[in-house]
Symmetry: C2
Subunit: 136 residues, 2 copies
DNA sequence: TTGTTTCCTATTTATGTAATAGGATTATCG
DNA sequence: CGATAATCCTATTACATAAATAGGAAACAA
């Protein structure tokens, strides 16, 4: 019942890319440095996100990443499923007493994760940082 | 986002103990054999549950376990928290964009886990096994 | 051609789970 | 008392996965 760093890094990367929007490319090096993450490790994660079609990449100078779809359409459920893999329940499903409970748990989790997007995270962050979209 | 075997074994053990009720003691050996779990491993788990006050033990011949409180009052939240430990969120909490999301996730999970009890699991199992409390 | 970026693959290191092992303690019963 | 049967305690091993490191290949711009 925890999120691996791999997944958290992926989310951090997506948030960084989304924040830049179309104003420019986001590079691994830049994000890794700012967040104190290993460049080589974050590279691998960028690669996975790209293969899965969540982001689009360009190589070479001025290269980097863009989001493939709008931040509002990128759910955490999608990201987490990609990074953590399918919830392996091979053993738990063989336990009769637990199968209904487990199904319910998965549904509860999914509905929460699929209703939160990268866009939401950026909004949350703004609130915490005391930056608002409007002024009085 | 998975349950360790340790936790599943603990739940299996609690269910077995609850099923016996006051009709007799439940032993590790008996449950381990029936469920195909290592006796020595299940012993360790029984010990943890006992220390935490979820079950009560007697040693020696005719020894074994009883529930410490009613199966309806034994929530899975309690059991899972005990076996899996506190959800370690040391890193995730330092990520501003994720803190609100994480809080919400924990609340969602807790409310589901705390609303399911060992008693519920036994009822679920009965349903699956085609055994009902009443007949038409 | 040089430099900068993503991409690919292999290897190491660290960590925690699952299981094994051996014995100590407690209690029953003949 | 002595044999037996159960929980309890602690240490160690085996295994899997996560996290990180490493070296270079491919793509691209100036």
């Amino acid at each position: 019942m925890k999120l691996s760093r791999r997944t958290i890094y992926a989310i951090i990367l997506l948030v960084a890319i989304a924040k830049n929007g179309d104003s420019g490319n986001t590079t691994i090096k830049e994000v890794a440095k700012k967040e104190g993450i290993s460049v080589k490790y974050l590279e691998q994660i960028g690669c996975v996100l790209c293969k899965a079609g969540l982001i689009k990449s360009w190589r070479g100078p001025n290269g980097g990443y863009h989001l493939e779809k709008a931040a509002k359409d990128c759910t955490l459920g999608e990201v987490i499923k990609l990074m953590e893999g399918e919830v392996s329940s091979d053993y738990i499903e063989s336990v009769n007493a637990l199968s209904l409970f487990w199904d319910g748990l998965c549904k509860t989790l999914d509905s929460y994760l699929n209703s939160t997007t990268i866009y939401d995270l950026i909004e949350n962050e703004k609130t915490l940082d005391g930056v608002y979209d409007y002024c009085i």
